[in-house]
Symmetry: C2
Subunit: 336 residues, 2 copies
DNA sequence: ACTAGTATTGGAAACGTTTCCAAGGATTTC
DNA sequence: GAAATCCTTGGAAACGTTTCCAATACTAGT
């Protein structure tokens, strides 16, 4: 109507008429119902093909009670970590004829809550989300939701959802241990909020590495708040105003890493002077000089598994968590 | 059912019963129909609030013939250029209560075509897309589509869609001119397929810069095929096998830029020896040394406008194109 | 006070499918 | 050869809304 084109949608009734059969028979053929004769199948399939019939997904959803749609709610799709997950997840879901509604929570718990409302009203068959927090507020939003939920690097106690978790501990442990072996004792640790799985898990690796050498982790160098570049940059500045500044830094997330790198640049501190290891991989890290080491979690695999866990839940499977390894990519030696 | 939770969806009928009125009256109140009395409005609103009623979007869509959903189809959401567009677009659309279905075309025309089918069957109210190509094949897919379409940096002749276009010409012109002014004559140009607006438009700026100085652009240094990192890397290798290799390179798109940078690294060519300017901005370009200059197009603004153009079309507006400026970010001097 | 007109309301059709149910025809079994 | 069974088919209800239409209640005009 807005456009001049004529609305030439073909309905199941048109197919039925052309094939000279009842509507219900067309539906049976097209949905692959068993009880249809060969001749009926042929007639209907031909008619449907001739007319280029495509069932109306809306009506199907309403009738079937399933939309074949998954809500994908994350903090920030601009973050390549999330966009890679989104991509592989979408590809995997599409194989099973599911579509994905993308919705940003922008790191706000209230936006997240209202998004839950939107997705509920749209009757998505499930939600895949990296929640803003694991607070009770969020827990309530989740509880009011009847469809299955798969969490990305989050874990809500007392709630039976599936989760795709990364084994940050081992990767961060290796990275920290490496730094300690290089003689660094004062290693700063900058990451997001303490009340989410990913941060706790990373911190765990960091502390365990110290403890494995009977050392105490330097509490004054641990800075946890959010994943913003701003926070990480400010903390970097603060760290180097200390009388006893760090000689190495670990920072989690792309935002944090950027903050540290920009902070160091502003302070005119070279990456040869202060050792920096990012707790997430970024496509061009290898191009920096010296090449940046990082702890790599595998977002592509995460997305794929998120989709798989979701489909399992939808098909009546039990919630479960899977753990994906992280690897410490040491680019010190790789500089051949 | 899969989950133990009871399905406690509240329907319009429940609200009607609680308020002691007819279903149609509830609907009128909730959709803001004018012909309702004050007392009716109060009764219904109270009942709806008490029960926490949220209309079923599916049934609404079916009846209204509008899903309030926009299909967002792009080649590669992992590309930050697209993910930034997606983000700002989604935020803008949500303000008007539209949701966005994300769907990857993976740079394949046939996938794109099948995606059109998916979106059509899902009855999206419109599609925002950066098409794989502007070929007649694609044109046919588009023509079979009745809902409005907004193109991102694409322009299909003879088809009246809205477009958000970037003025690459001026940015690339400035960049090329700058290189020429620095004494570079042999400037290579690597970009995606020739049959899309963005490439033609960039090439235009490149050639115009040469011509403005009465020089002929070096045709042997122009390499157009796709935006993959692979292609750009291979071409970089080939370029430096030439007897008369380039002294500077322009490459369009994130993939291409990565390909060139990695290619140069493999060739052990320093960014001080060969001048490289990227035709897209990437978050950490400023951290490389020397800092990378780039032509910046503004994806955030693009996404916002894409959403606006879409809403205009949906509301019966005429298709139109808007042109967004690009800027040459020279990081040579900025290295204070 | 009676009629014409208007504001408000309830009932039912419609959106486009799937699926239940019953009926009819074909096949089998005794 | 008739009864019982199975397979196939068509008709209609259902999914949860919006909106058309007709009916009622109310207002105002003479």
């Amino acid at each position: 109507m807005a456009k001049g084109k004529k609305e030439n949608r073909v309905h199941i009734e048109d197919v039925a008429k052309r094939a000279g059969v009842a509507i219900s028979s067309v539906s049976r053929v097209l949905t692959g119902h068993k009880a249809v004769s060969e001749s009926m199948r042929n007639k209907v399939e031909k008619a449907a093909l001739d007319l280029g019939y495509q069932p109306d997904h809306l009506a199907q959803s309403l009738r079937r009670g399933s939309t074949k749609t998954i809500g994908f709610m994350i903090r920030d799709i601009m973050n390549p970590f999330f966009s890679i997950i989104a991509q592989s997840c979408e590809i995997e879901l599409r194989k099973s004829h599911y579509s994905m509604i993308l919705i940003n929570s922008a790191g706000s718990e209230s936006t997240e809550k209202s998004n839950f409302g939107v997705l509920k009203s749209r009757r998505v068959d499930g939600i895949i989300s990296s929640l803003v927090s694991e607070s009770s507020f969020t827990k309530n939003s989740l509880n009011s939701f009847t469809a299955p939920i798969v969490l990305l690097d989050r874990e809500i106690s007392g709630l039976t959802t599936s989760s795709v978790l990364c084994d940050h501990t081992s990767g961060v442990f290796d990275a920290t241990k490496y730094l300690l072996s290089q003689g660094h004792k004062r290693i700063a640790f900058i990451s997001g909020p303490e009340n989410i799985y990913v941060t706790r898990n990373r911190l765990d690796g960091y502390e365990k590495a110290y403890e494995s050498l009977n050392l105490k982790p330097p509490k004054d160098l641990i800075r946890l708040k959010d994943f913003s570049e701003k926070f990480a940059k400010e903390e970097t500045h603060k760290l180097f105003k200390m009388s006893n500044p760090p000689t190495a830094i670990l920072a989690g997330g792309i935002g944090s890493s950027g903050g540290v790198l920009h902070g160091l640049k502003e302070l005119k501190i070279d990456l040869n002077q202060v050792k920096f290891i990012a707790l997430d991989e970024w496509p061009f890290f290898d191009l920096l000089s010296p090449g940046l080491s990082s702890v790599h979690r595998d977002p592509e695999t995460m997305g794929k598994y998120a989709a798989k866990l979701m489909l399992e839940l939808i098909n009546g499977g039990k919630p479960k968590s899977i753990l994906i390894p992280t690897t410490f990519k040491n680019r010190d030696r790789a500089s051949k």
